[in-house]
């Protein structure tokens, strides 16, 4: 049965250290995070990390499980997020959110945290040095870094059913999730502009890796929650988005799709004849007209397949309701925006300028190219592409468009600023963030599913948080405001 679609977005940012003899990206990432959390740092606790566990119940021979880099900078923020150095990138993992709109808010808060970090790093950098971060997923030279989504899924649902329904889903949702890219990589030649940053990097349908031979379905089985009850679906196919509507649709529609799969509501099978090439084909077809071959011999365009999913979702909402997908407000908002978006993509996609990232970038770059008579291969257009994602407010082309009133927002800036500090009230992130804010000196370590507190007497105490839907403001708000010390909190929790 469908469980509440708690979700979160992890973003690895591109990072550059300018003006340094050794432009070491690990050092640059560490400086950013140290700069931001100078006041207070709580260490991340690695006890429950097991990224090599495979959802299919085995580990493939030769599969490369990701390493956990415990020596790198790692911090927990009062909004419940994790902010750390992953490989050679600063990564912001949003707190657990209870719906797509909240996920947009905490994703945007992450951008502001990175912008603040760049400012903070200036204080410790030498003359003429600057750290710049980009919220994109590729350097245009065959190197990609991810923006991963996570969704809470019922453990009893067979992984095979998830895979069958999700592969065509991930291939076709690109038409509104893409962040747009000039050129092709990893063997994709003669591409002027394509819909996504990431499609060129997927080489398998299903697998455990995330850094090589990337699979459309990632099988990492690390629930960070009660493993008998839950699965955490780790989605690696998405682009990092700047347009809030793109993020809302990416997370919101995927949550509804997952709920339908969990409730075994999908009555149609859209299995593609060849999903890996289809991934690229969809991204490369800005006309959105090219048909995909399905395994049953029929053909359909990505828009047609998305209409079918939407039709099913409307029926699902009527029969089951959308309580697990943000309820009547957010769930319904997502359905309506999804429908409007498909209509627009079909009739006049340019009307989505300022709504979806790829269309916004495409329209901007087209206008620029038309004015100066440039080809897609011109470095100037590649620069515009890159600088669209620059996180510095004064340099970001995306932020210029926002300032010019050309981008639709679904959050407001006051809420975003608040979300940099305050946790979502509706998930266990509330407990994590609030305890950290109240007693920063007593929180020795934290991770997704526990907190370790120093209550003044030996030993250190671990508070398990295996249920992501508990620890909310409704659940523990009154308790937290009624206790004065961590020790009192522990006593009350155990009493």
């Amino acid at each position: 049965m469908a469980v509440a679609k708690l979700c979160g977005i992890e973003t690895e940012y591109g990072v550059v250290l300018r003006g340094a003899a050794d432009p070491n990206p690990v050092l640059a990432s560490s400086m950013l995070i140290n700069g931001y959390v100078d006041d207070h740092r709580v260490g991340w606790d690695f006890e429950d990390e097991s990224p090599a566990t495979d959802a299919r119940g085995f580990a493939r021979q030769g599969a490369q499980p990701p390493d956990i880099e415990t020596h790198l900078v790692n911090a927990v923020l009062t909004n419940g997020a994790r902010y750390y150095v992953d490989h050679a990138h600063p990564e912001y993992s949003s707190p657990e959110c209870s719906d797509a709109l909240q996920a947009v808010l905490y994703d945007k808060a992450g951008e502001r945290i990175l912008a603040r970090s760049m400012q903070a790093a200036r204080r410790i950098l030498g003359d003429g040095q600057e750290i710049v971060v980009y919220k994109n997923n590729s350097d245009g030279k065959g190197n990609s870094y991810g923006c991963h989504e996570n969704y809470l899924v019922d453990r009893t649902v067979s992984f095979v059913r998830l895979v069958r329904n999700l592969i065509p889903w991930f291939v076709t949702r690109q038409i509104y999730c893409g962040a747009g890219k000039v050129g092709g990589e990893n063997g994709s030649d003669n591409i002027g502009f394509q819909i996504t940053q990431r499609a060129d990097f997927f080489e398998e349908e299903v697998g455990l890796e995330t850094t090589l031979k990337r699979p459309i379905i990632n099988t990492r089985d690390e629930p960070h929650a009660d493993p008998h009850k839950y699965r955490r679906l780790h989605v690696i196919v998405g682009d990092a988005n700047l347009c809030e509507v793109s993020t809302l649709l990416k997370v919101g529609t995927t949550a509804i799709c997952l709920a339908m799969i969990e409730d075994d509501f999908m009555s149609k099978d859209f299995t593609l004849a060849s999903a890996v090439p289809a991934m690229r084909a969809v991204s490369h077809d800005v006309s959105l007209r090219e048909s995909l071959q399905l395994a049953d011999g029929s053909t359909a365009t990505p828009i047609e397949i998305q209409w079918e999913y939407l039709t099913q979702a409307r029926k699902y909402a009527d029969e089951f309701g959308l309580a697990v997908c943000g309820g009547d407000t957010v769930g319904k908002l997502v359905l309506d925006r999804w429908e409007q978006t498909l209509n627009a993509l079909e009739t006049n996609f340019t009307s989505l300028d300022g709504v979806l990232d790829w269309v916004t970038k495409y329209q901007l770059l087209k206008a620029y190219a038309d004015r100066d008579n440039l080809e897609w291969t011109d470095p100037k257009l590649k620069l515009l592409d890159l600088q669209y994602h620059d996180v510095r407010p004064d340099k970001s082309l995306f932020e210029r468009l926002v300032a010019a009133g050309k981008v639709e927002r679904v959050t407001d800036e006051t809420s975003v600023q608040n979300a940099m500090k305050e946790p979502p009230p509706t998930t266990r992130a509330y407990f994590r963030g609030t305890v950290l804010k109240r007693w920063p000196d007593s929180v020795v370590a934290a991770n997704w599913d526990s907190l370790v507190l120093d209550v003044g007497v030996e030993p250190l105490r671990r508070i398990p948080m295996m249920e992501p839907t508990r620890g909310t403001e409704d659940h523990v708000g009154a308790l937290l405001s009624s206790v004065r010390t961590p020790r009192e909190l522990l006593d009350r929790l155990q009493g």
């Binding site: 990701p66 490989h87 050679a88 990138h89 409307r314 004015r371 100037k380 890159l386 600088q387 082309l397």
Partner: protein, 64 residues
């Protein structure tokens, strides 16, 4: 697929907007063009210099 046909119909509200847009084409399109020109000029003012070198030097390590 009758349900799909139903879903795909544009809402009446949208049709009204389209009619309104076509009613005064010249003024609107000239205003849009001048807005766009201003925006492109503004973008020129913030673009990094030496596009070729800048793009070439943007190299990242793979992540994830």
């Amino acid at each position: 697929m009758p349900e799909r046909e139903q879903i795909r119909k544009p809402t009446p509200q949208k049709r009204d907007e389209q009619v309104a847009e076509t009613a005064a084409p010249t003024e609107t399109s000239e205003k849009l063009k001048s807005d766009l020109d201003d925006l492109l000029d503004e973008i020129d003012s913030v673009l990094e210099t030496n596009a070729e070198e800048f793009v070439r030097s943007y190299v990242q390590k793979g992540g994830e």
